[in-house]
Symmetry: C2
Subunit: 196 residues, 2 copies
Amino acid sequence: MSTDRLSRQIAFIVEADKLKAIERRTPLTDNSRQENSAEHSWHMALAAMTLAEYAPAAVDLRRVLELVTVHDLVEIYAGDTFAYDPNASAHASKAQRERDAAERLFGMLPADQAVYFRECWDEFEAAATREARYANALDRFQALLLNMSSGGGSWKTHHVKREDVLRRMAPVERETPELWPFVVDVVERFFGGRTL
Amino acid sequence: MSTDRLSRQIAFIVEADKLKAIERRTPLTDNSRQENSAEHSWHMALAAMTLAEYAPAAVDLRRVLELVTVHDLVEIYAGDTFAYDPNASAHASKAQRERDAAERLFGMLPADQAVYFRECWDEFEAAATREARYANALDRFQALLLNMSSGGGSWKTHHVKREDVLRRMAPVERETPELWPFVVDVVERFFGGRTL
């Protein structure tokens, strides 16, 4: 072990602490505050374990857990872009901001590990492998559970439309179809003005 | 898929959201607030990935990630017991409180999954497998990084003694010996009154 190698690894872990300060638009279930991206990532890992039987066939849970742990790290520098932001320029600049952030953050690590973490993030973003597709579906589904439990959450606060929620939830229908009737029921109750 | 099965799984994921409200004694690196147990669990997962080369030989990273995701969940009902609490009765009652919490929380799940999550938690607690021993070392090491980065953190606030920190860090020496010189250096700097 080189001391420089360990120093870089420790600096990366310490820097990653900043993800706990990145606020999402989704509130906690008790509406006490907004969720942050670090605890959201943990909650996705727990959901990945709990809902594994609905994942695409032969999904590798280890890879899913790696992807969810890494998927939001770039927000430390790039910030969280609200999924329902009506401002198109926020989404247009998102990809470049996040790629720059990935260079900077993963570049703190020894070269072999910079590649490993970058591959995790790229894989999640591309949503091409079954593990990344499942992780993306969980990202949407976990947010739905918080919005449901907090009486509407970010849908209510930001006046999101029914069709935008359903479009956002499309990966759930595609990757974890057994969860889809539940999603539709939650959306219909909320937009039908019934109790969630 | 039975609707009842999915309902129980969803109720469990929603209930687990409460871990985000369980405060630890350790502050974030910028000292802005105390860390919560959900984001701590995520940070341990990231550390598990980053420091894997120092883990006991042939450690199964998938199992490590499962263990760290589950290891603090019982605190939802049992609360966080401060590692350096001088009150012996807090530690004496901890085991029973946490076992009761595990029954209650994992009992929300379908029976097969109650067993799976309970086994994760028991495995972490027993620290008998190499995965659980690595996870326990990470639990200590991650707290050291936060205390180091925040200028002393819970060691300073609670006037913890040098020998108590070293005793608490013993799993790091035992399971990840290559990290031990770094731990000793941090402890010597802090207790020697030098800059961390």
